[in-house]
Symmetry: none
Subunit: 404 residues, 2 copies
């Protein structure tokens, strides 16, 4: 049995760019190590959910880990909250929160409270209250962002957002989308009013006003979702799983699946992340774990920025960082792919298929020695998210025979 | 956001023909415009339902429009009736009917009533009656054909046909296939008897007898199906859809999905159809619609005739007709494929996969510049019916992101 590393280059897939000579960043990049890995194994095209579906990183990773996103995904809140290290339980309702500035008429003056970047830990702590028997937990995130969790009986994610998404407009009242959402909508509205009472004269805001800054005097909620009960990854597949990921959304998701999160120095979830460390730690982690998911976010960041040259450079840095894999294919089954395309020409996720490679010692070689969106279409694989773990189990001698 | 045109060349897929030098009609055809479109986009193979399944035009089109034919298709009757312009409601039971000639012992003398081609409108009108509270609607079709609809409580499509499919045999009694079909079978049998009473001495038939023609003195029913409740196309996909199709079966299907039917002069559903008009109207229709389905039936007709040379010529005419697409790829996302294969060597539909291409400005090019059953297998796509609209939404910048 071999150990498994699944390397997800976030937002990897792209479309042709004129300034790269009609090539995609991956086609344009120098990538001798990735190409060498491709030539030693099997390549093809990959649809994280199904052809044409535009995945989020969260739904794509759920699908890749073998969870049907159409069944378990009910909104971004739970995954964001998990990523902030909040202790969630199945049935909790979680939201994405942001500290904002309102006037006394609840008109939004700044949706990001002047991009507040200090003191939100104290503000969040002050908002950990109980309303009508529902326990409310708030945890600060990056800048004005926060995770908000409701725990109690009779809650539902079927409620509307309160963020008007525009400054100069009043905060909206949460409404129930279905009968079972009424209690939750009511508690949201009470909580928002209460947050103004608590925050308006909080010492952090008194100080901000003194400094001429926007006070973070309210919290807005959106993206309600119920925390799903995922079958534990380790039990589902009979192997011990861990992840090395820079972004809270994905570490939260892996935690929800019961995987361990390995902290790696220098991992930032940005273009400056320390890729070499990620790869080295992943290989070292194979001593303690059977399966390690590694996500490198930088490719996606460059895609969202529409910067094809940067994306190409990042791919070249990845190519250099992954060199150690070449010496470990006797012990490791490696898959490299992405979770969705983020074409620089679109600056957002699309449903275009992604290149994928799987390699280990002794595997078939399908004779394609270029790893890019076009070359791999001549390869062996034409797979979907829910196939990934099965394929990795197979090529690591871990798959159980189904039948006799 | 771009507009979408989906061009279905009915029965497009084929098999090698000796008299075309071992090529399929599509391989043998000169088709510079189609090949140019292929070279500018992505190609591959397409299974309208799933690999090996032999689709009808109706089940294939349902699948292509994103409706699961295994769930919604219960027989051809409803689609034929819709194509005749009959006003159907979900829950109605519809049949394909044909006027026939029987003797007084109910032995079929001519299944097509001497290929009657006049007066069936009057005969059909005379058959609009009520039996046991069930409203029966009959509408004449081409020659001896008619649509028959039963409307009422407690009806079921689970009944046998009454057509013996052979002359010199008696009309069969309809039988219930399941318990819930008893009432419907009973009404069918009463209706058939009643139709003889009404038609035998109808003025149209008196006149026919005078002229030495077979009287259309009975109606036979087959292909019972319940009219399904389809989720409206426009709501399902958030776009306004229309179709340009020559055959009643498909316009009926599109109407059932809530799509508009665009009438185009010179469109016949035969090999002489005016393809140039279809394409021109489709492009013009993008002003008012987001999605236009265009079906060209002629390829299928040639396949059913087993005429590979004609099929090749028709493909060459299509190639010439579609030239205007080349100038509109900045505004239009185009897919070209078929609904099933109709190999000239088989003269009927088969479950062979079909070539497919999708093209628009800025899309990946997978480097295949020949559009035929074999060349496209080196391309990027390996898709099924239910993927089609998702892929088109993706490449027209209309797909909603699922997740974050």
């Amino acid at each position: 049995m071999k150990k498994i590393i699944l390397l997800i280059l976030d937002g990897l897939g792209d479309r042709p760019l004129d300034y790269l000579g009609g090539k995609t960043p991956l086609q344009a990049a120098k990538k001798k190590n990735i190409n060498r890995l491709a030539s030693m194994g099997m390549v093809g095209l990959f649809d994280p959910i199904s052809p044409g579906i535009r995945p989020g990183s969260d739904t794509a990773h759920l699908s890749i880990l073998g969870y049907d996103p159409f069944k378990v995904y009910t909104g971004r809140g739970p995954f964001e909250a998990l990523g902030l290290g909040m202790d969630l339980r199945p049935g909790d309702i979680a939201f994405r929160g942001n500290f904002a500035t309102v006037d006394s008429n609840m008109v939004v003056l700044d949706r990001r409270a002047g991009r507040i970047d200090k003191g939100t830990d104290e503000l969040a702590k002050a908002l950990n209250i109980v309303i009508d028997g529902v326990e409310i937990m708030v945890k600060e995130g990056v800048e004005h962002r926060a995770g908000v969790v409701f725990r109690g009986a009779g809650l539902s994610p079927n409620v509307t957002d309160v963020d008007p998404h525009e400054e100069g407009k009043s905060i909206l009242k949460a409404r129930a989308l279905t009968e079972d959402g009424k209690k939750t909508a009511d508690i949201i509205n009470k909580f928002i009013s209460k947050s103004y009472e608590i925050l308006e004269n909080h010492p952090v805001n008194k100080q901000r006003k003194k400094e001429g800054k926007m006070p973070a005097n309210i919290i807005m909620l959106r993206g309600a979702g119920i925390v799903p009960e995922l079958e534990g990854f380790n039990k589902k597949y009979g192997m011990k799983g861990a992840c090395i990921v820079g972004v809270p959304l994905l570490s939260g998701l892996c935690k929800l699946a019961g995987m361990d999160v390995i902290k790696v120095p220098g991992v930032t979830g940005t273009v400056n992340t320390n890729m070499e460390n990620k790869i080295r730690y992943a290989i070292e982690a194979t001593r303690d774990y059977d399966f390690i998911l590694v996500n490198i976010k930088a490719t996606d960041v460059a895609g969202h920025d529409g910067n094809g040259k940067l994306k190409k450079e990042i791919i070249e840095r990845v190519d250099s960082a992954i060199e150690p894999f070449l010496d470990n294919l006797d012990k490791i089954t490696l898959m490299i792919t992405g979770d969705h395309s983020t074409p620089c020409s679109v600056k957002d996720h699309t449903g275009d298929p992604l290149p994928v490679l799987v390699v280990t010692e002794g595997i078939r070689r399908d004779g394609i020695d270029e790893f890019d969106e076009v070359s791999v279409s001549r390869g062996s694989l034409r797979i979907r998210g829910h196939d990934v773990i099965n394929i990795l189990l197979n090529y690591s001698d871990r798959a159980e025979k189904f039948g006799a």
